[in-house]
Symmetry: C2
Subunit: 196 residues, 2 copies
């Protein structure tokens, strides 16, 4: 074969996205050039435009796919009619696991919101809000049932999500703690902070 250039069995598209994902997560969207992405993929910069109309769309699509995957995975995991405490444990463990499994996607989704154009921002923000609202409704149900001792479901939603998402600032696979242990440690802290 000895093919030194040209298409690679139609896999260039995914490879462009993977390269962009890693570089955006490491250096930030604004700090990464199309030439850097092309170099990582092994093509010239012009070739990238076969796979994205522009740099902004590349970011938006990465973020949309992530948020869509998050909401889809959550829908598959959520169990209807769980009592509030069980529903909260289920949510906490899901959130920790999903975030640990996709650190680059999560990082971009949090850090690069400001790099989105207005209409793209609005779409991503709506998806993020949908996710937040599921936790808020669990907390609200628990307040009403008397299971949770909280003044304000919305504020507690932010506090819990901040704490859980923070796992990505320190967790490294293969470290001292396993995923299951991390899930349990965080669940214990959330449980005690929230449950009456």
């Amino acid at each position: 074969m000895a093919r030194t250039q040209g298409s690679h069995s139609g896999t260039t598209g995914p490879r462009v996205r993977k390269a962009a994902l890693g570089l955006f997560a490491q250096h930030g969207f604004a700090a990464v050039s199309m030439r850097q992405i092309a170099k990582e993929v092994g093509v010239q910069a012009g070739a990238l435009y076969n796979y994205t109309p522009d740099k902004q769309s590349l970011l938006y699509e990465l973020m949309f796919e992530h948020m869509d995957a998050l909401l889809t995975a959550r829908r598959e995991e959520a169990v209807a009619d769980m009592p509030p405490i069980k529903a909260l444990e289920n949510f906490v463990r899901f959130h920790i696991r999903f975030h640990i499994e996709k650190p680059d996607e999560v990082f971009i989704a949090y850090m690069e919101l400001r790099a989105l154009e207005d209409s793209n921002f609005a779409k991503i923000e709506a998806l993020r809000r949908t996710y937040e609202n599921e936790l808020e409704s669990i907390l609200q149900r628990g307040i009403e049932s008397g299971d949770f001792a909280l003044d304000d479901a919305r504020l507690a939603t932010f506090a819990v999500l901040s704490m859980l998402t923070g796992v990505n600032t320190w967790f490294r696979a293969g470290g001292r703690l396993s995923l299951a242990e991390v899930e349990t440690v965080y669940w214990n802290m959330v449980r005690r902070a929230v449950v009456a």
Copy 2:
């Protein structure tokens, strides 16, 4: 006077930093140009170089001053020989207050670490670590005294700091809750998550 250009009573230096602070916080370091900063200040781009040797130094100095102010303020506020629970409440209230008072500085200090050159990063990271360590030592003391029910002081440090710093994602001055109320709500959650 009708002075339309020239120096402004020696205040240009601080105004450059203030403009850079706001723009970096809003758009990110890499996305902001020296020309944007100059326009905000009301000078031409070349004049900025009377106040900073380059763009990187401007970022570093903003971050260093913030971390220095944080550690100085903390030293003034900390009380020696407090029992662990009181020391933790003191830390939580301090952290919330300081973060709410300086949202732009805090945001940059968290978001732009990756934009720092290696040697600048090392210096800022050391300051950040010093601050983290104070919370960790409070938690460790409380574990040893039996006041706190935690498996791991370091992990709990990350969890608590993430939760507290998250206040900046939603708090707006003049909103529904006062600073004092926010402090108390967060302290109640931290207390219950940590205290045995």
